[in-house]
């Protein structure tokens, strides 16, 4: 037996051991969880149970249930200010992760670069690498509020047809962009003839100040963008594994080809649940209101403790600097876990620019957040007094 060299060469996450330690430990307050703490709204779960009782336990069309694609198309139209044909411009996937993988594989041509801003979600780089793309990190820092600037993109060496991967609001930094910033980025993208994969899973219901501006809604960007979204975060449906891609016909067709041979279709139970989720605007807004309160609370308190933290514009993570402690992120996370039983994710898990930072999820009840902050305060007093 021989293992694929590419897979062999792919370095495993450097902090796997730390994660195993957390998972094996009891009575830990974890701010390391990247999924909502709310249960899926019951009307969504109940609707899926009902569909199972009625016998909806079969395959669906490769592209996903026609009705779901139609509903998604209707959902997207006012938000994206453009329409996507449910017949051939929308594909239902097993979470955004699958959509990302399909997109990268479908768009992978020789010498094609994938520009990935970091700190970023952990799977972008490996997915690009496994797809045969040439992943290139664009470092972002607190100086630009962890945003890619038009100047930075303009100065990056690229070729026509390269891929620019955008994720906003961003996991782990919470960075997002307003319309003017996006228009400026779009100008550079057009000039450089890049294609954008825009992961906007935290967009609609997890943007707190102002409206989320979807990338395909910008002038000239619809044909240059593959828009990815899903149900996991906004509707607390991570385990249902339903995401989708909307984009130019030829990209969706290429992705569908891979999807039909590898996955066949997303599970029908999740798709039935997603249909009901699209009627749950009120529930999603109520969860957003709660995240928003926690966001302001945790960020204000972290800054008071001396851990500099920008106010995240979206998602549910606070990305705080621990540089004042003199520890590196892994050391800080290890010690905090051992001494105070609070779990956070070291920033280096999200790319080299995450050094000196930790990610704390506020998808955690306020009483746990308060207790965790009090323990962090105690920890800092001990180590930094």
């Amino acid at each position: 037996m021989k293992i694929n060299k590419k897979v062999k060469d792919l370095s495993p996450s450097g902090i796997r051991a730390f994660f195993d330690l957390v998972i094996g430990m009891k009575d830990v307050i974890s701010l390391g969880v990247g999924e909502p703490d709310f249960d899926t709204p019951w009307r969504i779960s109940e609707s899926a149970i009902f569909s199972v009782e009625k016998g909806y336990t079969t395959y669906t069309s490769n592209k996903g249930l026609q009705e779901l694609r139609e509903q998604i198309s209707r959902y997207l139209k006012p938000r994206l200010k453009t329409s996507y044909d449910p017949n051939d411009e929308i594909l239902i996937t097993v979470g955004v992760s699958e959509a990302m993988d399909l997109a990268m594989r479908a768009l992978s041509v020789s010498d094609c670069k994938a520009l990935i801003h970091e700190p970023c979600y952990v799977s972008y780089y490996p997915t690009a690498y496994l797809a045969g793309l040439d992943p290139v990190y664009l470092a972002t820092t607190a100086q630009t509020a962890f945003k890619v600037t038009p100047k930075q993109l303009a100065e990056t060496k690229t070729s026509s047809g390269d891929i620019f991967l955008l994720n906003y609001p961003c996991n782990p930094t919470g960075a997002s962009y307003n319309r003017d910033e996006l228009v400026e980025l779009a100008r550079v993208i057009e000039k450089k003839d890049l294609f954008v994969i825009s992961d906007e899973i935290y967009g609609d219901y997890m943007t707190y100040d102002g409206d989320h501006v979807p990338f395909p809604s910008l002038p000239g960007m619809r044909q240059r963008t593959l828009y990815l979204n899903g149900f996991s975060k906004a509707y607390a449906m991570t385990g249902w594994r339903i995401g989708y891609a909307a984009g130019p016909r030829e990209v969706i067709a290429a992705m569908t080809k891979i999807h039909q041979y590898t996955i066949l279709c997303a599970p029908i139970m999740g798709q039935m649940a997603a249909l009901e989720a699209l009627r749950c605007d009120k529930e999603a807004k109520s969860m957003r209101a709660e995240y928003n309160r926690r966001r302001k609370y945790i960020v204000t308190e972290l800054n008071k403790l001396g851990l500099d933290c920008l106010m995240p514009q979206g998602a549910f993570y606070a990305f705080a600097s621990i540089q004042s402690t003199g520890m590196d992120s892994v050391e800080f996370a290890h010690k905090l876990l051992e001494e105070e039983k609070v779990a956070v994710v070291p920033g280096t898990a999200f790319g080299p620019s995450g050094a000196g930072y930790i990610r704390m999820s506020y998808a955690t009840g306020i009483s746990d957040i308060k207790e965790a902050l009090s323990r962090i305060g105690k920890f800092l007093k001990k180590h930094c007094a």
Partner: protein, 176 residues
Amino acid sequence: MTIPVVVKLDGGECFMDEILEILEKDARLTSEEIAVMTGKSTAEVEKRIKKYESEGVILKYKAVVNKEAVETDVKIVRALIEVKVIPQRNVGFDAIAKRIYSFSAVKSCYLLSGGYDLLVIVEGEDMHSVSSFVSEKLATLENVQGTVTHFLLKKYKEDGDILHKIDGDKRLSISF
């Protein structure tokens, strides 16, 4: 009568003041904490809370206690009683309702549409005391035409709170 303050958000939809929403969920949060969560000053939060208290919008602060989980020898029996009454001239149902809800055994009292008029929730130490209350105090009132008593067997959910221990966090303690 004071109408609770409503604020207009998202193009006309009316929501309750966020401070009330927060306190309804957790009345133990401090004004400072609420101020941070809402982006208001502590003074502003305190001012509003005081106003709500003085206007009777906030009546009191209390814990939601699941009495069925309390280990004690004192048992409590609850009954929901449908009461059919004759409304009185000028005062409608209010006078008879007051007559009923003023009893300390009455924990809640609602005027309803439908087949009967008042829904009264009564608590007593045992079935006998609840029955006595109904037969001696309630049914004998002049304007009460009839009562139907339903003894409560189990509470599952009350005012939005599920009254049994919910399974702990099912999520992995670390994920991306």
